[in-house]
Symmetry: D2
């Protein structure tokens, strides 16, 4: 299981009138965390681009358990759940100080070949090779 | 079935380096659409606030079917799916010109009493009354 | 003087914990308004792109007079102030209902030739022609 | 002169179709940097709130020199330029690796008493005391 950890500090502009993080802002936190996970494997956005594929998000699920507050440091643990046919990532967001669960989420991405615009039903070999080399 | 329609035009700042709407921006589009639906019923954010309840999002699911592009007008149809125990909204985002499906989503909110901070297992009467008056 | 008008409705996710629009969100409102102005002239983002130039913002000034609130409709009047050597736009944001001034701003953009990456000290002819044809 | 340093890493969702940071996103970077500066002094957003004042931004100026790119680490140096009558902060954003100047900016905030809603023409004593204690 390939996992990464990312710390995000809640800023004033993340907050809504209730004084808690607006739920849509977690998607940006997850983007940063997924980027760290993929960067670790060596297949971050620039490498995706160079490999000739887009990887659009096709599915996203988020469960909000506790609200984030100003100055709180969020510890986001990302896990690569699937990579052979599609790229599935799980996210567990916890309060960095107490370990309390804040948010759970998952995303699914599929490879789309840039030249043809065709969705791939198997992940490109370049990605599979990087994942398996990293995991070994 | 209570439904509303909201039109959103894709702007430059919604786009990512692929030239399509970054997936996280749909959450803001859904926020505007849900606000129109709740405003129609007479229970938008100011009325929620005055009624003594917060309504945090506890669950969100999004399926991305086609990418949004610059200048495209998105037609968001919102449907109130549940209201008695929690507030569930479905979203169908289509291209306003062609009717093609772009994105499907759902959100679940629960009422939290401001004074006590307690989550409500039944929606407050004020909300139920408004929904039933509107629907009748 | 070439001017355009754009209406923007303040949404929940634009608000900060003070219950007013977070100052950074006005930049997105200005982006939508400038896009309407340039679209009217026939030189919106897709036409910029096709003409072989980027137009990065190099300077921005914003004065905040009154705070925007939930549900308020903002009337943004944009004026093309300069076009021959650089693209300067003024923004006057007013409450659509009362006409009260909310925010004043200005942006400056310069053309950068895509092929060479060189900043242009005179606007490209294609843009000047469109502005003068529109204004005439 | 009171100064602070903040590092921000450019993420995918900060980028526009040109592959560079959309100019409006720098306002969020500046918000995080100003929060670090004010936190160092002991007058961050929670302390502002407890002291009985809002501090809205009334003026902002930004000069964009070089575009930010994916994965780049930005080094934001903030300087408290005025504090007695209003809160003025200067921002110098540089590439963390090369020291190249990317963006220069400034913001002005004024205190507004929460109870009366009145703008203060002198900064509240609590803030002045904290600044002078820190600077001494």
């Amino acid at each position: 299981m390939i996992t990464a950890r990312t710390a995000i500090k809640v800023q004033f502009n993340h907050l809504d009138p209730m004084g808690v993080v607006w739920h849509g802002n977690y998607i940006a936190f997850m983007e940063a965390a997924r980027s760290d996970l993929l960067g670790m494997i060596g297949y971050n956005y620039p490498e995706m681009d160079q490999s000739g594929y887009f990887w659009p998000i096709v599915d996203m699920k988020v469960k909000y358990i506790r609200p984030g507050r100003f100055g709180q440091v969020l510890d986001i643990q990302t896990t690569l759940k699937e990579y052979e046919n599609r790229l599935c990532v799980d996210y567990l967001i916890r309060d960095a100080a107490t370990g309390e669960k804040m948010t759970k989420a998952s995303t699914i991405q599929v490879a789309v070949e840039k030249v043809s615009g065709e969705m791939q039903f198997r992940s490109p070999d370049c990605f599979i090779t990087l994942v398996e080399a990293f995991g070994a």
